[in-house]
Symmetry: C2
Subunit: 217 residues, 2 copies
């Protein structure tokens, strides 16, 4: 009976984590859209919505504490609950990087882009896929899928390197590209860091599912 | 009796967190030193030592789980233990940024610096002081000191802005500064992010001591 109570509480906790992932996934989409379309209104909305994410994280954390206090789970279950409490920190950090991107959008304002943005939306699409797979692997404790996310992280690292090289070359050619160029460099870096946090989540999922602490990026 | 056991386990857990903070504090010092002195050997050592930090984090986390499983603490104590588990993640992230700085040191290699590094060591010194105060406030649950760390974070933000402006101006003047200039920009950004993580720790300390969730940066 106690066990049943625990299982159902854990299930609803996991659902809230999935909900948080879905909300942050939307912020990833919107933050890069705001940059691409120079949509300052959207950028401001993302920044505002990130407060919700922080609140969700705190709520879930309180619930994990309550769950432990009321149900006094065994060590194995505690590991899952602790992992959830770490996973939500990484999800929250992904949200923070969306905010950082939006701040660059606002700084760039209505200025013409110094180049058509191609690699940045490409990074965004891969990250969204990584994050969707992370969600999937979290729901089904699918550790193999979690490993695959780690492999995609390499594509992100390479795309970031391409962006870095391209923008540095542009700045070399003409110093008028410096101001926006460095902002786009930062956006690239934020996306790369996002992917790192998503990879952290996958390491946690592997730990939950397999009991091994691995480094997949 | 059980309570006594809990108190002493919690005390030793806190000592391990303090030990972890001291080790990372050394990495902060060494990472910036490696950059300033173009000391690639030291940079490599920092990167290696960061593995130890990761291990310490995992060890402490295991111990928090054991502590909960064996002692079944009440909700208030669980909050402290959970906070410790979050604090160690932030300490570990500070260590990661030291690694990032060292990677830039290695990329710069034995190249002459494009400018005397003044603001970066200044940021380092303030961060070291913030971190020392964080440790102090963690040991004594001194929430007032934790708030003060949040105030120092503003100095870091301003120093970072100065570095950003200065380097952008240099790149404007001469494109030969681009490659190293952007590397130094990243170092500035890493230091700024370090200070953010230290501030996160202080928010946790305030939460442990006062029960309030606050945002101090």
């Amino acid at each position: 009976m106690v066990r049943e109570g625990f299982e159902s509480s854990l299930k609803s906790l996991k659902e809230e984590v999935v909900n948080m992932m879905e909300k942050v996934s939307k912020l990833i989409q919107d933050s890069v859209d705001s940059l691409v379309n120079r949509d300052i209104k959207l950028a401001r909305e993302v920044i505002k919505k990130d407060d919700e994410i922080d609140k969700l994280m705190n709520d879930i954390e309180e619930k994990t504490i309550e769950l432990i206090a009321l149900q006094q789970p065994m060590a194995k279950d505690l590991r899952i609950i602790f992992s959830i409490s770490k996973i939500i920190t990484d999800i929250e950090r992904v949200g923070d990087f969306c905010v950082n991107i939006c701040k660059e959008t606002i700084k760039i304002g209505h200025e013409e882009h110094i180049k058509p943005l191609i690699d940045i939306p490409k990074m965004r699409d891969i990250i969204l896929e990584m994050f969707a797979n992370t969600k999937e692997s979290f729901i089904n404790e699918n550790y193999k899928l979690a490993y695959r996310v780690g492999e995609d992280d390499e594509i992100i690292d390479n795309l970031y390197k391409d962006i870095y090289t391209e923008i540095l070359m542009m700045i070399h050619e003409d110093s008028k590209f410096i101001s926006q160029g460095t902002k786009l460099l930062f956006v690239g870096r934020y996306l790369e860091r996002m992917a790192d946090h998503i990879t952290n989540i996958c390491e946690r999922i592997i730990y939950i599912s397999q009991g091994d602490r691995v480094s997949i990026n």
